[in-house]
Amino acid sequence: MSEQFEPVIIGFTCNWCSYRAADMAGTARIKYPPNVRLIRLMCSGRLDPTFVLKALSGGADGVLITGCHPGECHYLEQNYKALRRYLLLRRTLAQMGIEPERVKLVWASAAEGVRLAREIGVFVDEVRDLGPLRWPTSLPAVHAEEAKMMEEVAA
């Protein structure tokens, strides 16, 4: 690619901490790269690995999972469930040939707008360094491409 690669990142936020942190970053006009697109969940405990796989297979280059700091979960302890799933998911991704670093878990309290913005910046750079993922299933081309190629070889 001629100009620098701009990764597309899906971010999952907790309604009570990280989403509010994002709001705070906004209110404070703290700038961060536009590569991250946030989705609001009620809690990081709602995070289903399916969502992450959906994002990655759908064209995202990275996924950011955010939740309340350990011990500060709005729902007492659900962020730990997110942590457990995250740790297992990374292992599976690695086996699928996807750098586990493309999925990152970050704790951010409602007060940590600045920190969240910084973490987003860091993660965008990290994913940029990893390069595009562009999982083939996300390419509208994929089936057509296959078919076309098959015809070619058949001909």
């Binding site: 790269p33 289903d48 729902y75």
Partner: protein, 682 residues
């Protein structure tokens, strides 16, 4: 076309998209017109029938715009691209509802906090805004019409903790004519305030203002007092909690006891009172913590009672004129049904032994603020005399050390709020009662709030000396004849810019406030959260300080953080007001964001059973399926995400909604040429 749920020809939803300029807040960075045009043209296939941009969507005109479209174009879904849902979600839901559309069929996506305010590149920002809107559109298609949950409220209330905050809350509710159960761990209510002599800044006598309140609690027809008792278990949910209380045996029949006091006058067993007299006074084995105790009935401390220890004595039983002593009394388990709970369990004091260099516990004449409070109290161990540990000699010089265990990274980082003022109070009392020379060693003086700083001025006027600096050490290791037999306070005077050694007869450590030792267990018991330190977390630090994340459970006083008396009282009243409003409404509405088990699909694997901190998930052994109690469910969705059979669905944040939103957000993923895979056959 009717206003509700009419889909268009191909059975697609009819969606309206509304892009807000927010003056220049959004329009300044995002090309809102372009976004609106794009939504109409590109998202038509998804069902977008109208897309508009407007200066201020939240304005009444903006809302009308939406309402009219819903009515005239028969919209079945609405997406507003503006500010954060936390700001205006309700606004647009209400607008939708006014137009006859189920409020939950509208979706507010943030292109201000998450786009225009945080990005500068207009092209990229506009592109992201489109992605965000696309996400909203895909999501809203999956939204379902929802109804808020209605929960009836049981009119009785449980107040936990009989300190000033709990007392205030109990009285407010009881006076309003509703039943209150007040549970207190100690034999009497009154809390820390009952230990004090004077209260800052007015110096009115604590007992004089507290006792009447305690008495009216004791006599109130609507208040059932359970002292010497602890909450064992809490079940149920907002509106109808069932609470199990363990009532420890007093070994005194409260029906017969008149509180005459003969038993404790005659009890031969004197022991150090570690609780009310904080270790510098004595009580008997059968005792009430203090004369004005409410209830007036004593308790027998089995640990020290001679009879309980070696089967002899029974002096109290023999001498009790009403035969109220009952050695065979057993503990009671009381079950309470309440609609709301107020937790006012207060604080513990920092243990000064943890800072050995201050010598508390080693050096006789180092006292804690609590000890000094008792010493000053006319009913205390020294009858209000300020004396040294020998119990007779008066100090000629006293050093008061601030911030002991507070604002100290080795112990607690926070400020304990009350210590500056109580230290000033101590300084005044010492002056008043001994005329001794008084030093205050402080980091910063914190005398906010009404008449506090005036009090500071007054105490300075009384000739109390102030040294700005953290005390390094309190020692009896003297270096000069002048220091002989005294305690030397080693401190860096940061105003004079030098080390000082100040000999005093007596040192008072203004110890900080800490969460109750068992705060975390209590939080767990009630299903609420607390900070790492152990202070209970309020629902919102500014806008909802007396509510907790758990519906129907409120907090008041120092259980939420260090507080002085006025603030605790205010919170007690505030919590009571919140409870009363619920009781008078008779029922409350809860956000319908809840999880539901599809019994047909549930295999009863019990994976989810352990995942709910609110115990909302019940397992039916007979049917081998799990079920979720909607009133208990807080809607976090953890079980939804965890169910291996996909048998649990979560309203408001269903899989379909989230997955579709992901698709929407990714519609703009292909900025540059996709990397094609090589598929050449072998």
């Amino acid at each position: 076309m009717s206003a509700n749920g009419n889909k268009n020809e191909e059975g697609k939803e009819r969606i309206g998209v509304y892009v807000c300029h927010c003056g220049s807040n959004i329009a300044g960075v995002v090309d809102v017109k372009d976004v609106a045009v794009w939504a109409k043209e590109e998202m038509g296939d998804e069902g977008v029938v109208v897309a508009r941009d407007y200066k201020f969507m939240c304005s009444s005109l903006g809302q009308e715009l939406i309402e009219n479209d819903i009515k005239e174009l028969g919209l079945t879904r609405v997406v507003v691209a503006a500010c954060s849902p936390h700001l205006h979600e309700q606004t647009f839901r209400t607008a939708a509802e006014r137009a006859g559309l189920n409020p939950y069929l509208s979706e507010l996506v943030s292109i201000r906090e998450q786009v225009s305010w945080v990005h500068t590149d207009k092209v990229k920002a506009t592109e992201k805004a489109k992605a965000v809107v696309a996400g909203g559109i895909e999501r809203v298609i999956q939204n379902e019409p929802l109804e808020p949950l209605r929960v009836p409220i049981h009119p009785a209330t449980l107040v936990v903790g009989g300190g000033i905050a709990g007392i205030q809350a109990a009285l407010e509710i009881a006076d309003a004519g509703h039943k209150v159960y007040l549970v207190e761990r100690e034999p009497s209510i009154g809390g820390h305030m009952a230990q004090f002599d004077k209260t800052f800044p007015t110096l009115d006598c604590a007992a004089c203002i507290l006792t009447p309140r305690m008495v009216s609690v004791g006599e109130h027809p609507n208040i059932e007092l359970l002292t010497w008792s602890e909450v064992e278990r809490v079940e149920g949910y907002v509106g109808n909690f069932s609470v199990t209380v363990r009532k420890r045996p007093r070994y005194v029949d409260t029906e017969l006891c008149t509180g005459c006091g003969i038993c404790w006058e005659k009890c031969p067993k004197k022991v150090i009172d570690e609780v009310f007299e904080v270790g510098i006074g004595y009580r008997t084995a059968v005792y009430t913590p203090f004369p004005q105790a409410v209830p007036k009935y004593p308790v027998i401390d089995t640990e020290t009672c001679i009879y309980f220890q070696n089967g002899k004595c029974k002096a109290c039983e023999k001498l009790c004129p009403t035969g109220a002593i009952k050695f065979d009394q057993e503990e009671e388990i009381v079950l309470l049904e309440v609609g709301n709970i107020i937790i006012a369990t207060g604080f513990d004091l920092f243990d000064a032994r943890r800072i050995p260099e201050y010598g508390y516990g080693r050096l006789a004449n180092v006292f804690t603020s609590a000890e000094f409070e008792r010493m000053c109290n006319a009913a205390g161990p020294t009858d209000g005399e300020v004396v040294m540990r020998d119990g007779v000699s008066k100090p000629a010089s006293v050093g008061i050390v601030h911030c002991v265990g507070s604002r100290d990274r080795n112990y607690n980082n926070y400020c304990s709020v009350i210590c500056c003022m109580s230290s000033l109070k101590f300084a005044h009392l010492v002056k008043e009662r001994t005329g001794a020379e008084v030093y205050n060693f402080y980091i910063d003086m914190r005398t906010a709030y009404k008449d506090y700083d005036e009090f500071y001025q007054r105490v300075m006027g009384e000739g109390v000396l102030f040294v700005r600096g953290r005390v390094a050490e309190i020692t009896d290791a003297t270096r000069s004849p002048g220091e002989e037999g005294k305690l030397v306070i080693q401190v860096e005077d940061t105003l004079a810019g030098r080390q000082r050694r100040i000999p005093v007869d007596m040192a008072i450590l203004a110890v900080g406030l800490e969460p109750r030792a068992d705060a975390k267990e209590v939080a767990k018991k009630f299903g609420i959260s607390c900070s790492a330190a152990g202070w209970i977390t309020e629902k919102h630090p500014k806008l909802d300080p007396v509510a907790t994340m758990t519906e129907g459970i409120f907090i008041a006083g120092a259980v939420q953080g260090p507080k002085d008396i006025p603030t605790s009282v205010a919170q007690g009243a505030a919590a009571a007001a919140r409870v009363l409003s619920r009781i008078s409404r008779g029922e409350i509405y809860l956000e319908p964001i809840r999880a539901t088990v599809n019994a047909e699909m549930c295999s009863g694997c019990r994976i989810c059973n352990n995942l709910c901190p609110f115990n909302a998930i019940i397992f039916h052994e007979d049917l081998m399926v799990s079920e979720i109690n909607h009133a208990l469910c807080q809607g976090c969705g953890t079980c939804v995400a965890a169910c291996p059979a996909g048998a649990i669905s979560g309203t408001g944040f269903s899989n379909e909604q989230v997955l579709s939103q992901i698709e929407g957000l990714l519609e703009f993923s292909f900025a540059e040429e996709p990397v094609l895979m090589e598929m050449t056959p072998a």
